[in-house]
């Protein structure tokens, strides 16, 4: 590898038009690394907002009667919780955050294809997030119709909040489309000469697939929401049955985006795990080619499964059959990825770092979410548990137990790259332990609740479910507490963490073959051409003389 080449040249101090100190993180910086960190930190701030909203929900549900907030406020809270967590936390962080930071390194470029568009895409997020949250304070409060905003309910709840919700989601969708275009252009056109597509780190493939989904599906949501807003403000009748509209059409259009949105949230996470595991297992990523094909299979299948959200909405029988089979088949490429990760672990030399352990927790929890997902794909099964807490449990296993765990793994993995300092491992493992216990305590019992008759989005419920709901609320409290060691760690280590060196994990992917943190244009001198980002174990393991037998010496010769 070419790591040592870059060390020889001295940095030339050049005057910069951009702010260089901490102020650059508040500026319209065009540096992809600054933008990436802006996405991640901004996402975390919104994660706390969304988490506080979840705290309101779990506090309300600690008792079977509606006694903590009013019923209207409860519906606003659950709507904001879903919207904030999806559009302001997970999607921006796994796409914009890590995507912007890593993709230019991976393709050997000095920045993204369209740096200015990139900065615009980020700076659309804070205002639209504030717009969304401030809608709570307008007359009538925030939107009350859930993150799905199904008409006719969304046409009858207070209009101002609903319109602000639509505006905010449109802006966030726009930001997401800008990002998607930028990623496609960077990955396809900005690779350095000699770097073939099949040499790229897996996260590039994940981001390429995700960006295709973003660019194909998000405009459909935008169009749908514009029609919905016309129904609200201009009294058109697209989705108003009283005026001859059809509400099921809205559901089709909404889910045409919002099912792919699940893959927009999990495919980048799959990519990040594929980067983390080989480094900490000291083994090549198992089955690179099948991993690539399975990402593309997920992209294609992800676009043709949306109606499985509508099995109880009066869809024709043949359609239910088709969407059952298509949905269940997503388990095949997803399964391939999971088996390949396990094969990557197998016979490795696993460093039990926090990043590795979060990734392994992700594997187990996502498999659980995937199993309940295949069950939900079956129409007769879904008919009973659709719109219940079973579904709430299922998708939190996918997006929290899956993606959010990967976000944490990625922070532990790339923090030395971001800051040049190491995180504290014992604190990290305390964070892991609290998160794993809290998460499973919170969401596993919800499957039982759903099977036994508790619908979702309710402020009050049958008193026989009290104990299980309280267990779930205790789990939520533990999850809230678990962020404390994380925060202390991340903030404290930024100032007092031990120096990491340029490449503390001895990784081979290109972002590590420069200084930590990297200079403005990523490398001093030419970017290294990394043709084997997972070439672990190839250097020929030195033979341990203490345990070696003569036969080992003979067989290890080429």
């Amino acid at each position: 590898m070419t790591a040592s080449l870059t060390q020889t040249r001295e940095p030339s101090p050049a005057p910069s038009l951009q702010p260089t100190g901490w102020l650059r993180y508040l500026s319209f910086s065009l540096d992809h690394k600054v933008i990436g960190l802006q996405y991640i930190v901004c996402g975390f701030l919104f994660y706390f907002v969304g988490g506080a909203l979840a705290g309101v929900i779990r506090t309300e549900l600690a008792t079977p009667i509606s006694d903590f907030v009013s019923r209207e406020v409860y519906n606003q809270v659950l709507t904001l919780h879903g919207t904030v967590m999806i559009f302001l936390w997970i999607v921006p962080v796994v796409n914009g955050g890590f995507g912007n930071y890593l993709i230019p390194f991976y393709v050997g470029a000095r920045d993204m294809a369209f740096p200015r568009l990139n900065a615009v895409a980020f700076w659309m997020i804070p205002p639209s997030g504030l717009l969304l949250i401030s809608s709570y304070f307008v007359h009538g409060g925030a939107a009350q119709s859930g993150w799905t905003a199904y008409p006719p309910l969304s046409l009858t709840t207070p209009a101002t909040g609903q319109i602000l919700w639509i505006l905010s989601v449109l802006l966030l969708g726009g930001s997401s489309i800008f990002g998607g275009i930028n990623f496609i252009a960077t990955i396809v056109k900005f690779r350095q000469p000699g770097l073939k597509l099949m040499m790229l780190p897996m996260y590039c493939w994940a981001m390429l697939g995700t960006s295709i989904l973003v660019v194909l599906a998000t405009p459909v949501l935008a169009g749908t929401l514009i029609l919905l807003s016309l129904d609200i403000v201009a009294h058109t009748g697209f989705f108003n049955p009283g005026l001859g509209g059809n509400v099921v059409v809205y559901q089709h259009l909404f889910w045409f985006y919002s099912h792919p949105a699940v893959y927009i949230m999990v495919l980048p996470a799959f990519g990040l795990v594929s980067e983390i595991l080989p480094v900490h297992a000291r083994k090549p990523l198992f089955g690179y080619v099948t991993m690539v094909y399975s990402i593309m299979a997920i992209v294609i299948l992800g676009l043709i499964v949306w109606a499985h959200h509508m099995f109880t909405s009066g869809t024709p029988p043949w359609m239910r059959l088709f969407f059952t089979i298509a949905t269940a088949f997503i388990a095949v490429p997803t399964g391939i990825k999971f088996f390949n990760w396990i094969a990557t672990l197998w016979q490795g030399r696993l460093a039990l770092t926090t990043a590795m352990l979060f990734s392994c927790a992700f594997i187990i929890q996502f498999v659980f979410g995937g199993i309940t997902g295949v069950a939900l794909a079956q129409v007769p099964f879904d008919v009973h548990v659709h719109d219940t807490y079973f579904v709430v449990g299922h998708f939190h296993y996918i997006v929290y137990g899956g993606t959010v765990f990967v976000i944490f793994a990625s922070i532990y993995h790339w923090y030395p790259k971001f800051t040049g300092r190491l995180l504290n491992e014992p604190l990290g493992q305390l964070h892991l332990l609290l998160t794993v216990i809290g998460f499973n305590l919170c969401f596993a019992p919800q499957h039982w609740l759903g099977l036994n008759g508790m619908p979702r989005r309710v402020a009050e419920y049958d008193p026989s479910f009290t104990v299980v709901n309280q267990i779930s609320s205790v789990g939520a409290l533990m999850m809230a507490i678990s962020t404390l060691p994380f925060l202390i760690n991340v903030i404290g280590s930024a100032f007092r963490g031990p120096r990491a060196g340029d490449n503390p994990w001895r990784a081979l992917t290109p972002e590590w073959l420069t200084t930590s943190p990297p200079p403005v244009e990523n490398w001093r001198g030419a970017p290294p051409l990394v043709k084997e980002p997972y070439g672990y174990g190839h250097s020929g393991n030195p033979i341990d003389l203490q345990t070696a037998r003569g036969r080992d010496l003979w067989t290890s010769q080429p």
């Binding site: 909405s313 391939i336 594997i363 187990i364 295949v374 008759g453 619908p455 989005r457």
Partner: protein, 274 residues
């Protein structure tokens, strides 16, 4: 003598499968089953639970085993084996899940058919299809396009009930007896045909003990059929966010023996003039 790893793996696999079957058959996760299609649903649930348990425990076991067995010892900075892939393994773990998923799909199709879900609702298509505004009650199957999911229709001795879902209650009307009630009363053993409609927003009619749920969508006349099996009092739950009091939109379905049901009808029917 060491036991060969292949035998240990085989024994562990067999134990895992047996444990999965035990979980599926003896761990009760579902509420009481009180309608004719609920046991059919429970069959599917058992199959899914068995497969799911085996998969989840198997993968959890392998991950934890790898973390313990292949952990890096103190001071070890070597790499693992440079294994980049294995075509036979890839084919194996593509083919096996594909077959399992296909099996589950076909099996659940069969279950769905037995629950009456594949019945075409637009068999009598001589009437104009989508007269959405003019939903009538008399003979819906002849008048309008019907929507619906589960339920075997066409039986002669059917008890029709008109259900109106509104913010935030269900109203049940028995057209033959001209009874209007806030609770649903049905006899055991006789098919009930619910004709559901909503006038304001989307609601969903859910009886967990019947394993039945159907969205009630404004502008869509919807039919849901079931046959109750077990006398008792079961909750009816609205399962689609319909406004602030969504959580309070609940009712009951009371399942009577046929004799008790006749006396309930007599007791509740409004006096007629004739």
């Amino acid at each position: 003598m060491r036991i060969p790893p292949a035998i240990i793996t085989l024994v562990l696999g067999m134990m895992l499968v047996l444990f999965g079957l035990w979980v599926a058959n003896d761990v009760s996760l579902l509420p009481e089953s009180a309608s004719l299609n609920a046991p059919v649903y429970d069959e599917l649930f058992k199959v899914l639970l068995a497969i799911g348990t085996v998969l989840l425990l198997g993968i959890t076991g392998i991950v934890i085993y790898s973390l313990v067995r292949f952990r890096r010892r103190q001071g070890d900075s070597l790499d693992g084996e440079p294994i980049e892939g294995n075509l036979a393994l890839e084919l194996f773990w593509t083919a096996v899940p594909a077959v399992v998923v296909l099996f589950i799909g076909i099996y659940s199709y069969d279950i769905y058919d037995r629950m009456g879900g594949m019945q075409s609702l637009s068999m009598h298509d001589h009437a104009p299809r989508e007269q959405l505004a003019s939903v009538r009650h008399a003979e819906p199957s002849d008048q309008d396009r019907l929507w619906g999911g589960i339920g075997i229709r066409g039986s002669a001795d059917v008890l029709p009930v008109e259900v109106t879902a509104l913010q935030f209650a269900f109203i049940f009307h028995y057209p033959e007896q001209n009874i209007t009630s806030g609770e649903l009363h049905v006899p055991t053993g006789r098919p009930v045909e619910l004709r559901l409609r909503a006038n304001d927003v989307i609601h969903a009619f859910w009886v967990p003990q019947f394993r039945l749920k159907q969205d009630v969508i404004p502008g869509q006349q919807t039919v849901l059929s079931f046959t109750a099996r077990k006398p008792g009092d079961y909750p009816i739950v609205c399962a689609e966010l319909c406004g602030p009091y969504h959580g309070g939109m609940r009712s009951h379905v009371v399942v009577h023996n046929p004799d008790d049901f006749s006396s309930w009808l007599e007791k509740t029917a409004p006096p007629t003039l004739s």
